[in-house]
């Protein structure tokens, strides 16, 4: 005797979190049953394998029906077919859009196209994430990307509004979209030590400070693309390397700012010239798309100096947390993108990576210095000088964030970079 049909429909849709996880992880029904059996649920409840099989099938069917709605979460809220308490709805959405660290590191910065989708098999084998789950995550990225790509307003805000994600997850998606749009290369071996958290942190700062949206909140694509004008301006930073006086001024400003706040301060001070030159060189090339893509690779490979040894010593940095004023005019662009999160309350994520901090620092050389020595007259040319707005909160990025909650945050010190 076999059951041809076996269903259970509740007035309130039953959601079993464990089964949902198994489903999201892409396990087949039989695998899921196997895993559940191993979890000892049969002993706990006195159920039989048949019951478990039927239960799992039921949940899978429900999830399958819900999946269509999960693609556009606002629909899940307004639909009438499944009566689900709000807290459960939130859980369904949040879990559905959650992604694996291993997977996202593989895809980050890649074009979200069919081509990439074809590579998912390889990614699946490499990361140990099931192909099904890879597909879901990839499709989520792509769906979010398509929806917010051409939208006005804050990237994370748009994502949150259209996908009803938590603040945290929405910011992660913003990073994914930002990377995908700018196609930053992150897959190189040298960059492997960077976690998604590290890169997302960079993305957040870049979105805040390097995009058109940083200047004008009413432009299209404001948070998605880099600000061409700004990249153009970066070329002028060369003067910081070329002009001895400016170099010295820059150095003194930076050193004043960081004195006593870095354990590796002496090395930094000693190597300032090299360090500055490397960063300025990278910055000045960013007008070329190719170089933009290689930004992170370049930072690791070409920005020399002892700054790297700073890494992983967050505790040695002063935990100052000073709010920063936002520039009023485009010209008063913040000197250092790092300030961003500080301004926003010290972004939850740590700052592991110096790469992200270094380019801006050198690019707008007065950056670090400016923060502490605001009263000093700007010495850098053009609009680069730290505007009065470029706030005095620098150390936050160094120490304030501590380690973000993302796994793998305590990544290896990026010493090789300097």
């Amino acid at each position: 005797m076999t059951n041809e049909l076996d269903i259970f429909v509740g007035n309130t849709t039953l959601i079993d979190e464990d089964v949902y996880r198994l489903w999201l992880d892409g396990y087949s029904v039989s695998d899921a049953v196997g895993l559940r059996v191993r979890s000892g649920i049969l002993e706990q409840t006195g159920a039989t394998a048949g019951v478990l099989q039927s239960d799992t099938m039921d949940h899978y069917r429900t999830f399958h029906m819900l999946e269509r709605l999960l693609h556009t979460p606002p629909k899940l809220l307004h639909q009438l077919v499944f009566q689900i308490p709000p807290s459960r709805q939130a859980l369904l959405i949040e879990r559905y859009y959650a992604f694996d660290e291993a997977f996202v590191r593989e895809v980050l910065g890649k074009k979200l196209s069919k081509g990439t989708k074809k590579d998912l098999d390889d990614i699946s084998t490499k990361t140990g994430v099931t192909l099904k789950s890879c597909r879901r995550q990839f499709d989520n990225f792509k769906r979010v990307f398509k929806v917010v790509e051409e939208m006005r307003g804050s990237l994370a805000g748009n994502i949150q509004q259209h996908f009803l994600l938590s603040d945290r997850l929405a910011r992660d998606y913003a990073a994914v979209v930002f990377f995908a749009n700018n196609r930053f290369e992150t897959g190189k071996k040298k960059l492997q030590y960077l976690t998604f958290g590290d890169l997302a942190f960079c993305a957040e700062l870049m979105i805040q400070n390097w995009t058109p949206g940083a200047v004008d909140s009413q432009v299209d694509d404001m948070d998605v693309d880099l600000d061409k004008e700004f990249l153009q301006d970066l070329k002028e930073l060369k003067v910081l390397v070329a002009d001895k006086d400016l170099l010295d001024l820059h150095k003194s400003l930076v050193c004043t700012a960081l004195r006593g706040k870095l354990s590796v301060f002496p090395e930094m001070e000693a190597n300032f010239k090299n360090l500055s030159r490397g960063l300025v060189n990278i910055a000045s090339k960013l007008t070329h798309t190719k170089d933009v893509r290689d930004l992170f690779v370049d930072l690791v490979e070409k920005a020399p100096g002892p700054l790297g040894s700073l890494h992983g010593h967050a505790a040695q940095l002063p935990p100052a947390h000073v709010p920063r004023l936002r520039p009023r005019s485009p010209d008063a662009r913040p000197a250092c993108p790092l300030l961003g999160p500080a301004a926003k309350g010290g972004g939850g994520r740590g700052i592991p990576g110096q790469p992200r901090s270094s380019p801006p620092r050198s690019a707008r050389s007065p950056g670090p210095g400016a923060r502490t020595s605001r009263p000093q007259p700007p010495s850098a040319p053009g609009r680069l000088p730290p505007g009065p707005g470029s706030g005095p909160s620098c150390p936050v990025e160094w120490g304030g964030g501590g380690t973000g909650s993302r796994a793998g945050q305590g990544n290896p010190a990026p010493r090789g970079r300097s």
Partner: protein
């Protein structure tokens, strides 16, 4: 005369993409009522159109208003080809036709298509302006309220319960019309949905007319069913109980009642329960005597074949009146006559109710049922469906005569059902024979029943168990003892009923779901031969089902079944029987004996050993069950009690019972403390199988209880979490060597596994109880068995649940008193001052003298007298006040204030009034439950009946996830549509929800499937008790007392 129906189409959302090119839709809406159609403008290129139409007005007869559903069709405009239908919404506007229900229907309705299911939603506003029609010859019955609930709805009071109403209408099934060959299945299904909608409306109107004729104003326990007779047509039939209901505008009774002294007062008598004898406070006045004395507990059923439907059981009239003359006093006889005449005026003294106002049910006889096998023929004249009417009339006659044979003049908990396979149809009816209190049955008897109430309320909690039959003239052998509660009257050893456990019944321990499952193979045959074969099988099935129930009941250590529902399903090559009931241990009935196994071949040593092994297992099971369900009846110390039962008489009773013993050998020897035992003879392998199957039933995992009645006996501390669900399973039998045994085993496994699955699924709700577990079996094809279960899981507070039985009793009383007070216009608080002097003291004196006669030791007597007289006084008080209230209602308003003045009640009134305001706080969530109440909440308003019929079909079964995916989605959609309609009526719950039909057909080869679902229930507004309390505490209490009091009564 007319009414004006006004409809406004506001907007749509989430519409499907109809134009692939633009990925958008050009939607417009057709609004149709009767023959009139209106259209909205086309809203171009949007999936969320905003039509904001004008008000479409239909001026129609109220007859049409009742019959016709409002049809709303959403279409996609297409310039070049025909417009594509997106889907439809049918809105039953009946709830707008009576004044107290909803005033407007407004909300988002799912747009439904038979092929695609729900496709977006549409926002509609519907209103009705109704002009009163006083024409006596009108054909409409607007204003008659319908309730699916099988008890008096919570915010109403029954003034009169008139009795049975039934009606059926017949039509050709569009599916089988010739045109079906050229039109699409979709069109045919649309036609079917429309037709059934129309027929339900018509049926309801016709029933309403009958109710008006009886001068009632409502139908309670309304049950409407469809018989899809295939080629011979479509029958829609309905039964119900006509009542005159009074709205309790003082619905407030509930809240203050809970905490009122009256509750304690009611409880006190029962605290004595472990020692039932203190209960014998019942006075032995002439009034007290029971008119009838015998109650056989067995189901009593007959079958009649298609060719021969005469009743072999002649109604034994005269018996009842004879016994009345013999035993009762003159007044009693009078009363009896009154009742009888009241009931005999009616063709069928049937009641579809399963729970009753206190005092309504006097005695319960037992289950009566009748079945008849019919050959379906074409209905030639749909306007005069004589054959179908005649068939049911026959069955009802039979039921009536069975009830008479049991010495009962009425049947309660009555229901009818059919099972159809090809052209053979089994009609079944069943109910519980009962003796009722005439008070509720007719107007004008109210005066005479004041005294009667005194009398009937005394044998607290056991009165209904007392047999209504003459001991010397039993219709079949049964075993009687004196009531264990009052020691005055005879009770049967077991009691089977189709009703819910009366609220005043005292039980020990908890109840449990008991099921008997049975399959019988049958040869495939045609027409007449088939019908005969089925008729021949039926008696055996009934017998076996009964035996199984009895065995399982004994195995659980219980002595009564409530909510018994036996379903016999006919298929091509087999018959299936499934009986579900809730077993309980009634304190009034004797302790059930164990089960004894006797072997037929005594000389075989190993066999003996085997038998004794089995016996041991059975005994262990019984012991375990007793522990599990907390059945620990108090040992009755006979000597101490000084039993009122004279020893010699007992002995003689014993002798007789032995001589009368039938297939079930029953021994009873109370005096030696030995319990009666139930002997199972194992004489062949079949019997062996039976015993085995007895032992295979696994009890639910700890923390779970289940029952098929409204509430679980023994659990009363419900918390508010509920989860209603429907589960469907279809199993394919392997075709090799089907025997009755393997079939039985398969069927048993199917049901058991289904239950296990439910327990597993709902494990997060532990501790919880599955209530109103309703199994339906159908045999859609040769080797397919479909089992559909609908039930509700309710959580309860474990800590209170583990308390002693005493608490249970208290709790159940709490509920009882709550119900009680809800029904009464003036709750029992009025009696709080009853210790002081008041005008009804005669009752007390009368009681005192009565109980002093009954030979109870003085010490015990003192307490019992006090309490019982106390209770009694209250009852008489209430009675009187109710009378007053009634007269007052008819007459002037002002006098009422004086009645109310001193009572704390007004406070409650006030609370209740303000309650509906906060009903909207839980917008969005619509609860569904098959029960008539919502735990932890108070129903403040009934908005009307929900009765919906849907068909869903698919031609891409595999793509939709196979049969499971298809049906899962469909049922979810049905729930959604029910919820949407309730929400649009302004409600937040459906009570008494029932899925009456779920007909599933598939053709996997063609990748097709189709399903029909019919659901119904009552849309209500409920308010959480916690919210009520918060509200009420904030209210100033004394401020508007007189005003409130007066106002309440006036309504």
């Amino acid at each position: 005369m007319p009414g004006k129906l006004k409809v406004k189409i506001v907007a749509g959302r989430h519409l499907p993409v109809m134009d692939r090119a633009s990925d958008l839709t050009d939607a417009f809406v057709e609004v149709k009522f009767g023959n009139m159609t209106f259209k909205t403008d086309v809203y171009h290129k949007s999936l969320n159109p905003q039509w904001n139409s004008e008000w479409f007005k239909f001026e129609v007869d109220d007859e049409d208003l009742q019959d016709e559903p409002l049809q709303i069709t959403v279409l996609d405009h297409d310039t070049y080809s025909a417009n594509d239908a997106i889907g439809k919404v049918y809105i039953d506007i009946d709830p707008l036709l009576y004044s107290e229900a909803a005033t407007v229907i407004s909300g988002w309705f799912p747009i439904y298509d038979t092929i695609h299911g729900i496709r977006g939603e549409i926002n509609v506003v519907v209103k009705v302006d109704l002009f009163n029609d006083l024409n006596r010859f009108r054909q409409s019955s607007c204003g008659v309220k319908f309730f699916c609930t099988t008890s008096i709805p919570k915010c109403y009071r029954a003034v009169i319960i008139h009795g049975f109403v039934e009606e059926l209408v017949v039509n050709e099934d569009p599916e089988y019309q010739w045109i079906d060959r050229i039109r699409t299945p979709r069109a045919s299904n649309e036609a079917r949905q429309r037709l059934i909608s129309l027929m339900s409306g018509e049926l309801q109107r016709k029933i309403g007319l009958k109710v008006l004729e009886m001068r009632g104003n409502a139908v309670v326990g309304y049950l409407q069913c469809f018989d899809l007779e295939g080629e011979s047509g479509l029958v829609v039939r309905a039964i119900g109980t006509a009542c005159t209901l009074d709205k309790l505008s003082s619905t407030a009774a509930f809240l203050p009642a809970c905490n009122s002294p009256s509750k304690e007062m009611k409880e006190i008598p029962f605290n004595e329960d472990p020692n039932p004898n203190t209960h014998s406070s019942g006075p032995s006045t002439p009034l007290k005597n029971q008119t009838y004395s015998f109650s056989p507990s067995k189901s009593y059923s007959r079958q009649s074949s298609s060719s021969d439907t005469d009743l072999s059981l002649t109604p034994k009239t005269g018996m009842g009146s004879g016994s009345a003359g013999k035993e009762g006093g003159p007044f009693k006889a009078l009363l009896r006559q009154q009742t009888q005449s009241a009931l005999e005026q009616r063709e069928f003294p049937f009641f579809t109710l399963t729970a009753f106002p206190p005092g309504f049910l006097v005695h319960v006889g037992g289950v009566v049922s009748a079945r008849s096998v019919k050959l379906l023929d074409r209905i030639h004249n749909p306007d005069e469906p004589e054959t179908r009417d005649a068939w049911w009339a026959e069955i009802r006659q039979e039921i009536k005569s069975h009830a008479k044979a049991l010495g009962c003049h009425a049947v309660v908990g009555y229901s009818e059902s059919t099972s159809i396979c090809e052209e053979v149809c089994i009609l079944s009816a069943s109910g519980t024979a009962a003796v009722l209190n005439p008070r509720f049955l007719q107007d004008g008897t109210v005066e005479g029943c004041l005294e009667q109430r005194q009398e009937e309320n005394l044998p607290a909690g056991c009165g209904f168990c007392h047999i209504p039959y003459d001991e010397l003239n039993m219709p079949f052998p049964a075993h009687l003892t004196y009531c264990y509660s009052c020691r005055k009257q005879k009770v049967p050893d077991v009691l089977f009923t189709t009703i819910d456990l009366p609220t005043d019944a005292t039980v020990i321990g908890k109840g449990c779901l008991i099921q008997a499952r049975l399959c019988r193979l049958k040869k495939k045959a045609q027409a007449e031969a088939n019908a005969t074969a089925i008729s021949n099988l039926l008696p055996f099935m009934e017998y076996e089902v009964h035996t199984q129930l009895m065995n399982k009941l004994k195995l659980k250590g219980m002595n009564a079944l409530f909510g018994l529902r036996i379903q016999i399903t006919v298929g091509e090559n087999m018959l299936m029987g499934l009986a579900s009931a809730t077993g309980v241990y009634l304190t009034a009935l004797p302790t059930p004996g164990g089960i004894q196994i006797a072997g037929k071949t005594p000389n075989d040593g190993s066999y003996e050993q085997h038998i004794s092994h089995m016996q041991k297992k059975i005994n262990d099971t019984i012991a375990k069950n007793k522990e599990l369900y907390e059945i620990n009846p108090p040992e009755i110390p006979e000597e101490i009690i000084g039993s009122p039962i004279p020893e010699p008489r007992q002995r003689s009773r014993l002798l007789r019972s032995q001589s009368e013993s039938s297939d079930e050998v029953i021994e009873l020897d109370l005096s030696h403390g030995k319990k009666d035992a139930f002997v199972l003879e194992i004489d062949d392998t079949d019997a062996m199988e039976d015993v085995h199957s007895l032992l295979t039933d696994v009890p639910p995992p700890s923390g779970f209880y289940s029952c098929n009645t409204e509430i679980m006996p023994g659990i009363n501390n419900w918390t508010s979490e509920i989860q209603m669900f429907t589960s469907v399973r279809v199993s394919r039998l392997s075709n090799i060597n089907l025997t009755n045994q393997t079939l039985n085993k398969n069927f048993n496994d199917l049901c058991e596994n289904l239950l296990k699955s439910l327990y597993f699924k709902l494990r997060s709700m532990i501790p919880c109880c599955l209530c109103h577990v309703n199994f339906t079996v159908s045999l859609p094809e040769d080797e397919l068995i479909q089992v559909t279960v609908t039930a509700v899981a309710i959580t309860f507070d474990k800590h209170q649940a583990v308390q002693t039985t005493k608490t249970h009793v208290e709790k159940s009383l709490q509920r009882a008193s709550t119900d009680n007070e809800e029904l009464l216009q003036f709750p029992l608080e009025l009696c709080t001052d009853s210790l002081g002097p008041h005008p009804f003291s005669p009752a007390k004196e009368h009681l005192e003298s009565a109980s002093s006669n009954s030979g109870i030791p003085a010490a015990q007597r003192a307490t019992s007298i006090d309490y019982s007289s106390f209770a009694d006084r209250c009852n008489s008080w209430i009675e009187l006040i109710k009378l007053k209230a009634q007269t007052i209602r008819r007459g002037s308003i002002k006098t009422t204030v004086s009645v109310e003045k001193a009572s704390p009640l007004t406070e409650g009134h006030f609370r209740q009034r303000s309650a509906p305001a906060c009903a909207n706080s839980t917008v969005g969530v619509v609860k569904m439950t098959p029960l008539s109440f919502i735990p932890g909440a108070k129903i403040t308003k009934y908005l009307g009946i929900i009765n919906m019929f849907f068909i869903r079909e698919t031609t891409s079964l595999r793509e939709e996830g196979g049969v499971s995916g298809f049906l899962h989605a469909f049922i979810a959609e049905v729930f959604a549509m029910v919820r949407a309609h309730v929400a649009a009526l302004g409600g937040n719950a459906v009570v008494s929800y029932i899925m009456k039909q779920c007909v599933f057909m598939e053709n996997p080869n063609k990748n097709q499937a189709q399903c029909l679902i019919n659901v119904s229930g009552d849309a209500v507004i409920f308010v959480r008790e916690s919210e009520l309390e918060i509200m009420s505490t904030q209210q100033p209490i004394a401020s508007c007392q007189p005003a409130c009091g007066g106002g309440e009564i006036a309504t």
